[in-house]
Amino acid sequence: MVKYGEYDLAEAQAKAFVEFQRVQKSYDGEVLVVKDLSLAIPRGEFLTLLGPSGSGKTTCLMMLAGFETATHGDIILDGVSINNIAPHKRGIGMVFQNYALFPHMTVAENLAFPLEVRKFSKSERDTKVKRALEMVQMGQFGGRRPAQLSGGQQQRVALARALLTNPKLVLMDEPLGALDKQLREHMQFEIKRIANNLGITVVYVTHDQTEALTMSDRVAVFDDGRIQQLAPPDELYESPKNSFVAQFIGENNTLEGIVKEITNGVALVQLDGGGLIDCNPVNVSKAGERTRVSIRPERVEFNKERFQPGAHTLTAEVLEFIYMGDIFRTRLRVAGNDNFIVKTRNAPDQVRLVPGAKIDIGWLPSDCRALDA
């Protein structure tokens, strides 16, 4: 699939299928819900808008679908500005959070609806509906009303309905939000499989970071009406560009301090709770700046033999050891932070730390990112 190392707007725009150009949106004329959004989505990409509730994800999707108008800026679909195209002429498939299956129609009638408004003949409708139901393994449910289906089944029907007219672009607004965990994971896989098979472009909205990471080609992390970072999942997880993203994606340990010096691309940080560490200066440029340092729990090392020679280490006190089956989760007190987590793999030779023990911890300077305070 499409993959970008560092996101290159110019390159992306060149093959963009959907494009937001400096889009702003305000509902009340006072607050900007979407602030200066520029985003280019190439054909066939599975892009996820991820962010906390109220960050403007749905608003973006609604502008793309045509149910809200952008206060400022252009939205381009396949090379054409769609600001003045009515929603029903945009040819965009859509899956809503509560499925929006028409309650007064049967499943089959729901599926036939988009074909009917396009004036397909009865026999054509029947074959297409049948095929669509089979695609989502709902063959025998055509005669039922939506209320007689489970959440997962409704979800499948909604998906089939959105895909029935072969839209090139499909929007999904938290489509799995109402399902339980197991079903959600299953449907994530299912949606991804169908999207891949059909080669459609998907803009997917969720506030669940695991969902975003597992499904997407790229994820746009939203906060406060802005894209905080737009990157493929691995890059997002391993190289968060600011402390919001670091905090929002995955589990994260944070230590606060002041930059003492930056030499050879390594920042030396004096922690507020005492101690010196080496960091990768991501969002800091000069000595004296305050910073928030971020380290992933699985990148923390306490086996002295694996420490890098000459690197700074910190002392820590073990507070709690939790056995979680595949991993061990250990809570430490580090530089005044009582919630410093270390995750280790449950391997035969793995050390099980004992509460009360004093240990030294360290990490690769590149894994320790000095971000904005």
């Binding site: 009515a86 029903h88 498939g93 859509m94 929006a100 988009p114 025998q140 959105a162």
Partner: protein, 424 residues
């Protein structure tokens, strides 16, 4: 989904059929629900049900004649009413005895009034006869055939005796026949004379005008309810107050206000004349006719249409319209195929409410309806308060009740009663 063999019912773990256990579980729920509504149920049973029962009874009850003129009724039973001859002396002397006793007990006016519903002139016939009968000596003054005919020549009229005989049974279908402009005669039911035929016309008019009122309420209420359900909270609240405003003033005041508005020298006519849209001589007749009834009642019943529609529309999520449009439907198709069908339960509930309220309405047609715009209820009121013909009033009321039930049943058959919703 797995389906069990059709011929073998599903069993619960202890071996009872699943259907049976389910029925038991549901019965418990039903009993609890019944207990909850029991205070209201008892109240309704003891009041409404009693009223209905007494109304039904009154509409067929007919014991006045046999109670006040018992011997006459017995004597008349052997008289062939269609023989074309007057009854013989037995009947006349039995009647003389009865009327004398009635006159002394002052009961003669009751029976006279009762028979007057059937044949005019009966009331005065009984009054005059009773006055004289008080002085008779039943032994000495016999025979009575000629004496009665002397007293009033009405007693030589076969039709008088036929009326007496026809209406002497304890129960009668006469009131119901009257209700549909027919009457009971010795030779079976026949139509009332032209000049007394009014009730069927009134029934038809009541139904038709009520339908017109219901339709105009639907047309006026739908957009308002839609606005109410889709405006932002603050504006919707304001609009809601406007909708409910009429409830804050008395019905009588509102109806009278329409009288002021609509009469020939009224506000609307004045305005139209002032604007030059009509001539001074060509003022419109907007009141004291059916138009007046339709206008005033539509206004008065409108909230009863708006409120159920609103509460149904409020529960229709706007995402359905969006979903329809995203599937390629135009605004109109999305509305007509997706929104409208979901709002039908509201229309149904509102229509039933307005229609039923309307066919029983009394005050407004009375005030603004004139002669041409009154309803069957006004006639019922007339028979209760003025002609004192309670039997006929009860029969009319019963027919009205049955008509409502039939309409309700028809609605259930056509639209389905579970398609009536008063809320989400």
């Amino acid at each position: 989904m797995s389906y069990t063999d059709e011929h073998r019912p599903m069993m619960t773990v202890d071996g009872t059929p699943l259907k049976k256990s389910l029925a038991i579980a549901l019965r418990r729920q039903k009993i609890r629900a019944l207990l909850l509504i029991s205070p209201l149920l008892i109240f309704v049973l003891f009041t409404l049900a009693l009223i209905f029962a007494s109304m039904l009874f009154r509409s067929v009850e007919n014991d006045i004649v046999s109670e006040i003129l018992p011997e006459t009724v017995v004597a008349l039973s052997s008289w062939d009413a269609q023989s074309g001859e007057l009854p013989d002396e037995t009947v006349y002397s039995a009647f003389a005895g009865d009327i004398q006793r009635a006159a002394k007990a002052k009961d003669h006016t009751r029976v006279g009034l009762r028979l007057n519903y059937e044949k005019s002139g009966m009331a005065s016939l009984f009054k005059k006869t009773a006055r004289k009968a008080k002085k008779w000596d039943l032994e000495a003054d016999a025979p009575f055939k000629n004496k009665l005919i002397e007293t009033h020549k009405g007693w030589a009229d076969i039709a008088v005796w036929q009326t007496l005989k026809t209406h002497s049974s304890l129960y009668t279908s006469g009131y119901f026949l009257n209700s549909i402009d027919m009457r009971k005669t010795v030779s079976g039911p026949e139509y009332q004379p032209e000049d007394r035929q009014i009730l069927v016309t009134l029934f038809k008019r009541t139904l038709i005008i009520s339908l017109v009122i219901t339709m105009s309420c639907i047309l006026l209420a739908y957009p308002v309810a839609w606005l109410l359900a889709n405006l932002p909270m603050r504006q919707a609240n304001l609009l809601m107050i406007l909708v409910l405003l009429p409830f804050w003033t008395s019905l009588l005041v509102r109806t009278s206000a329409w009288k002021v508005m609509l009469q020939q020298q009224g506000v609307i006519n004045d305005l139209l004349v002032a604007l030059g849209m009509i001539e001074e001589t060509g003022r419109l007749a907007l009141i004291n006719n059916q138009l007046g009834t339709v206008i005033a009642m539509t206004h008065i019943l409108l909230p009863f249409m708006i409120l159920p529609m609103y509460s149904v529309m409020q529960s229709i999520s706007p995402t359905y319209l969006r979903a329809a449009k995203s599937l390629g439907a135009t605004n109109w198709t999305a509305f007509w195929r997706i929104y409208f069908p979901q709002s039908v339960p509201g229309i149904g509930a509102g229509s039933i409410l307005v229609f039923i309220l309307s066919i029983g309405y009394y005050i407004t047609p009375e005030i603004v309806g004139g002669n041409k715009g009154v309803f069957i209820s006004n006639r019922i009121a007339y028979h209760i308060f003025q002609s004192m013909n309670w039997g006929l009033a009860a029969a009319l009321g019963t027919i009205l009740l049955v008509a409502v039930l039939i309409l309700y049943w028809a609605y259930d058959k056509i639209v389905g009663i579970d398609n009536v919703k008063l809320g989400g």
